[in-house]
């Protein structure tokens, strides 16, 4: 599930929108709460200042505060205060030098008196419980500047403010909740929308692999962002088709190679068994058929060798080896065979060409090249085996002076089951796999193999191998 693009986009949507919503709501709540508190405070200060002005009398200190008169005067003077006074639970009182209440406009509230003589104006918050309800009051205490020792206290209930805050909090919590539910749904929806072309592409891709590999996806109809994907996919199809065709050709060729000896064996057995024969007749047939069985098992070995060469993991492990020694030993092996055909083999191999590689594989390459040279060089011919060290490579080559290879055949001879002369009887030629195997082994060493030849001028097979083993590791 966590691998699903849709789930991931939904989670991302939730995290992103959720955190933005929570941060925004918190900010709004804090800002509005601060503004509300500030509003209360400034209204209290304004009211206190106005009351203080009303009470001012140059003749005598304010021993008395007529609350009705103050209310009236406040009401007349300031509209903001008027609203404030009307809507809020409000109290106002005058304190004398000993902090006695001189005048209390709100006897209901048992507001505690300041503990000491009031020197500076200050705010505080008072909790009242005596009415059976919790009342939070914001109280502003202001010393009267013109009569030392006297102070004015103005207070207002914060119930309304707290109510507004609570409402606001509820609304914001609901908004956050809605966001938390909608954000992942939105993410899911968007992901779905975004995935539609991808899904269409995938569907086409699936159809192509199921039907035929010659089909390609339409690049023009793909969205810009998907074009690269489509291009990559088409390129992959190209390679796949090539590989598939090669594989099919190989299977057909291999089947053909298997069938020839098999059909000889089957027909031979059936014809022979259809009548009674003499012992020498049976013997002749069995000898002839056992040759075919040998050929079959040889083919099986060769095919396995090819499979090994094609799968580097199946090859033997690499080690440091002396290519000069290997080449010399392989050439010695062929000396007798060459002598039988009246061929001479000359060598030009410097001592100690050291490199890293798969020893068995490289011997196989040399054997295959020399085997071809001996097979296709007419009696009396010459074969030259050379090796040398170049700046970056170790190179060895096998040259014969046989019939040569036409230019148009010089690439396909390295294909599996390719025979130079299709008419060449299969008992003369091999299976047409030797050069293909050699090529695979050389390629597994990151080297190259090629042939230089002109018809009638013999053929020169050259193998180049990098000396460094780093490529393998």
């Amino acid at each position: 599930m966590t691998n699903s693009l849709r789930v991931r986009l939904a989670v991302w949507g939730l995290v992103l929108f959720g955190s933005v919503q929570i941060a925004m709501s918190g900010g709004v709540y804090i800002a509005i709460s601060a503004w509300l508190e500030n509003e209360v405070a400034s209204n209290l200060m304004l009211t206190a200042a106005q009351v203080s002005a009303i009470l001012y009398d140059p003749e005598e200190p304010p021993y008395y505060l007529d609350i009705q008169d103050v209310r009236l005067q406040l009401t007349n003077s300031n509209i903001a205060t008027q609203t404030f006074l009307r809507d809020q639970m409000f109290f106002i009182r005058l304190l004398d030098t000993t902090n006695r209440r001189l005048v209390d406009a709100s006897a209901d509230y048992a507001i505690p008196l300041p503990p000491a003589l009031v020197q500076h104006a200050y705010f505080d918050t008072v909790w009242l419980r005596d009415t059976g309800q919790h009342h939070e009051l914001r109280v502003y205490t202001l010393p009267l500047s013109y009569t030392p020792g006297f102070a004015l206290q103005v207070g207002v209930s914060l119930q309304a403010t707290r109510g507004i805050q609570a409402d606001m909090l509820r609304i914001l919590v609901i908004l956050v909740g809605v966001t938390v539910v909608l954000a992942p749904l939105g993410g899911w929806f968007l992901a779905n929308r975004a995935l539609i072309p991808i899904r269409a592409t995938a569907k086409t891709a699936a159809e192509i692999s199921e039907t035929d590999l010659t089909r390609r996806m339409d690049l023009k109809s793909a969205e810009l962002e998907l074009q690269q994907l489509v291009q990559t996919f088409n390129a992959m199809l190209d390679r796949l088709e090539q590989a598939f065709l090669r594989q099919r050709q190989f299977t057909a060729d291999a089947a053909h190679e298997l069938r020839s000896p098999l059909s000889i064996i089957q027909t031979g057995l059936e014809v022979t068994l259809s009548q009674d024969r003499t012992a020498p007749e049976y013997r002749t047939v069995l000898v002839s058929l056992s040759e075919e069985v040998q050929r079959l098992s040889q083919l099986a070995t060769t095919l396995l060798m090819l499979a090994r060469a094609e799968m580097p993991t199946m090859a033997s492990p690499w080690a440091a080896l002396n290519l000069s020694d290997l080449l010399t030993v392989v050439v010695d092996q062929f000396m007798l065979l060459a002598a039988e055909k009246q061929l001479t083999i000359t060598t030009d191999i410097p001592a100690s060409l050291i490199m890293d590689g798969d020893e068995t594989g490289l011997i196989q390459v040399m054997v295959n090249l020399l085997d071809n040279a001996v097979k296709y060089t007419p009696a009396g011919g010459q074969i030259a085996v050379m090796a040398q060290q170049t700046s970056s490579h170790i190179e060895f080559s096998v040259k014969d002076d046989g019939l040569g290879i036409p230019i148009e055949e010089q690439v396909p001879i390295f294909e599996r089951f390719y025979r130079l002369d299709p008419a060449r009887n299969r008992h003369q030629g091999g299976f047409g796999l030797g050069l293909a195997i050699a090529k695979k082994i050389v390629e597994s060493h990151h080297g190259t193999i090629h042939v230089v030849s002109e018809p009638g001028q013999g053929a020169l097979f050259v193998v180049q191998l990098p000396q460094q083993s780093s490529a393998h590791a």
């Binding site: 057909a252 069938r259 000889i264 027909t267 059936e270 014809v271 259809s274 008419a423 299969r426």
Partner: protein, 226 residues
Amino acid sequence: MRILLVEDETKMRDFLKQGLEEQRYAVDTAEDGDDGLHWALNFPFDVIVLDVMLPRKNGLEVCRELRNQRILTPILMLTARDAIDDRVAGLDCGADDYLVKPFAFRELLARLRALARRGSSQKSTRLIVGDLVLDTLTHTAYRADNPIELTAKEYALLEFLMLHPNQVLSRTIIADHLWNYDYAPDSNVVDVYIRFLRKKIDDAYEEKYIRTLRGTGYQLVDPHCD
């Protein structure tokens, strides 16, 4: 019945030739396409067995060329390739049948019998003319339900006559279809075999199947239909 076998694989060719000859066919062989074409164009065969993968000229080309030259002899293609395309190509170039290697020899024989019947009015493994019956599976002849033992050549001769009932067959034609090139006999030999055959199927009866048309050849006719 004379068969041309075109196959480049020596052992395969030898085994097939031996097997077919033991089944009383006259067999000529060729080992490449050009050679096969030459034989098919110059000698009368009842069936041509043609391998597809041949040196010089492959089986498909040989087949096409024969059809272009109006040689309508039934052709049975042999091949080691069994992809649909290969089979279609084989049949499209004018071959009558197709057999994939390796095959059972008995199947090859059955298909050859079927191809031999193709140009004839006979449609079963038992060739029937009047009360004369030839079982091509057991190589036994019956006249009025009495079994008649035949030698290989007698069988081949009777089979050829019964595949072409009522047709006048010259000595040369009979010789061409009964013997391969290596054993092609003088046409007098045909008369000898006709005499052998008559002894077995006609001499004991009033009505004769084999008629001699002087100076022309022989004819197998149902005497009850005259």
